[in-house]
């Protein structure tokens, strides 16, 4: 029966943890709970009859899928962890080859920006030094200058940067390109 003592302790610990979580959240949480009316989309008495259709960027699902893929690796690593001493270097090489190949896919993900969140951060990286000097340099360089203009109405990625040498000055996408070209 002694063998089951650790299990008993574990069960007690589990219950303690659960109980503490409840007590802790009850003590620490703000007392004012939002009511259903308060968290409604329109806080003015209009009750939405149908759920508004929501669309999610496919990126979220991508992250979820990638999580599963890398989680699956555990299935292989667990038996390896049990017998890696008996396998000696042979097993180590095996697992390293496996891990290296999977790591390549991780590298691919990072370089593709699949794990980068939000557009804003990327945009900061996309134009690293946009100072007044660089803007002046860009304008004076004229056609063929360092800056490229992304035509918002043009096609997206896939070699889409048009060679249209129009550096916008104001940062307003609607700004006509005419004056610059004339200059």
């Amino acid at each position: 029966m002694d063998d089951y003592l650790p299990i008993l302790i574990l069960i007690i610990l589990g219950f303690l943890f659960a109980a503490l979580s409840f007590v802790g959240s009850a003590m620490l949480a703000p007392k004012k709970r939002p009511t259903a009316a308060k968290i409604a989309p329109y806080e003015c008495g209009i009750v939405p009859t149908i759920e508004p259709p929501t669309r999610f960027p496919v990126r979220f699902y991508l992250v979820a899928m990638i999580f599963i893929i890398f989680d699956i690796e555990i299935v292989f690593l667990y038996p390896f962890a049990v017998i890696f001493r008996q396998l000696r270097s042979f097993g180590l090489v095996e697992v390293l080859v496996f891990a290296a190949v999977v790591f390549v896919s991780f590298l691919f993900l990072v370089s593709n920006g699949a794990l980068t969140w939000g557009p804003a951060k990327q945009l900061v990286r996309a134009m690293p030094s946009r100072t007044s000097e660089s803007t002046i340099a860009r304008i004076t360089a004229g056609p063929g200058g360092p800056g490229g203009y992304r035509d918002p109405s043009g096609p997206g990625p896939g070699g889409t940067r048009t060679t249209d040498p129009v550096p916008p000055i104001t940062g307003d996408p609607a700004a006509p390109a005419g004056p610059v070209r004339a200059a």
Binding site: L62, L87, G113, P119, A126, P146, G158
Partner: protein, 219 residues
């Protein structure tokens, strides 16, 4: 009923004679599994359903341990209770946690009686097959008996890392396909035009890929 339970228990324990602790563990785990499974179906809140599913999966893991299948038990917890349910929760959170499911209406007409009928049919079939059929089967296991002194995770590991070494290595290619394929499919269609974003018009020539990548998340 008791005889059936005893039979199930005998099947559940590898030694053939069930000790009191085995019996007790089985009953508790089975109760957890069943109540969890019922909870998944009955719970109105999808998050509660998912948590009930976790409970069921843990119960099954305990049953696996009872059958001396350490590996399956661990994988059950790590992959199913860990990853798959997290994925479920992920999606549930997206679609709205506070959405109550009205379980009184049936989206598919007649699916409940059909489900009951199918389950009854399946169980009957299994019992009949176990009783009637005398189909020949070959050797019991390629990796040796699970009743030996070494743990069966070690046995499985030995199998995977020696006999099935090549399939194991090749699996990595499958994972690469999964990642590359997911990225290729999730990529924004090139011809679709996004609304002009005030921050979006200046793109550094030297980093087209990065600039392309970020656009996907623009709703």
């Amino acid at each position: 009923m008791a005889a059936v339970m005893h039979g199930v228990l005998l099947a559940a324990t590898a030694t053939g004679h069930a000790s009191l602790v085995d019996w007790g563990t089985f009953v508790v785990a089975a109760a957890i599994v069943l109540s969890g499974a019922i909870g998944v179906v009955v719970a109105r809140n999808p998050v509660h359903s998912a948590l009930m599913l976790v409970m069921t999966l843990f119960g099954i893991a305990v049953l696996f341990v009872l059958q001396r299948d350490d590996f399956l038990a661990a994988v059950q917890v790590i992959v199913y209770a860990g990853a798959i349910v997290v994925l479920f929760l992920f999606v549930i959170m997206f679609l709205g946690v506070d959405r109550d499911e009205n379980i009184a209406t049936e989206p598919l007409r007649g699916q409940r009686p059909l489900a009951v009928a199918l389950v009854a049919l399946g169980v009957t079939g299994l019992l009949l097959l176990g009783e009637v059929s005398k189909w020949t089967t070959g050797a019991l296991s390629v990796a040796g008996s699970t009743d030996s002194s070494t743990s069966n995770v070690a046995q499985l590991g030995t199998s995977v890392y020696t006999t099935y070494l090549f399939p194991f290595e090749v699996t990595s290619a499958l994972l690469v396909i999964a990642v590359v394929g997911a990225v290729a499919l999730a990529r924004r269609p090139p011809a679709v035009v996004t609304a002009p974003d005030p921050d979006d018009e200046l793109v550094d020539e030297s980093a087209p890929a990065a600039a392309d990548a970020h656009q996907e998340v623009t709703p």
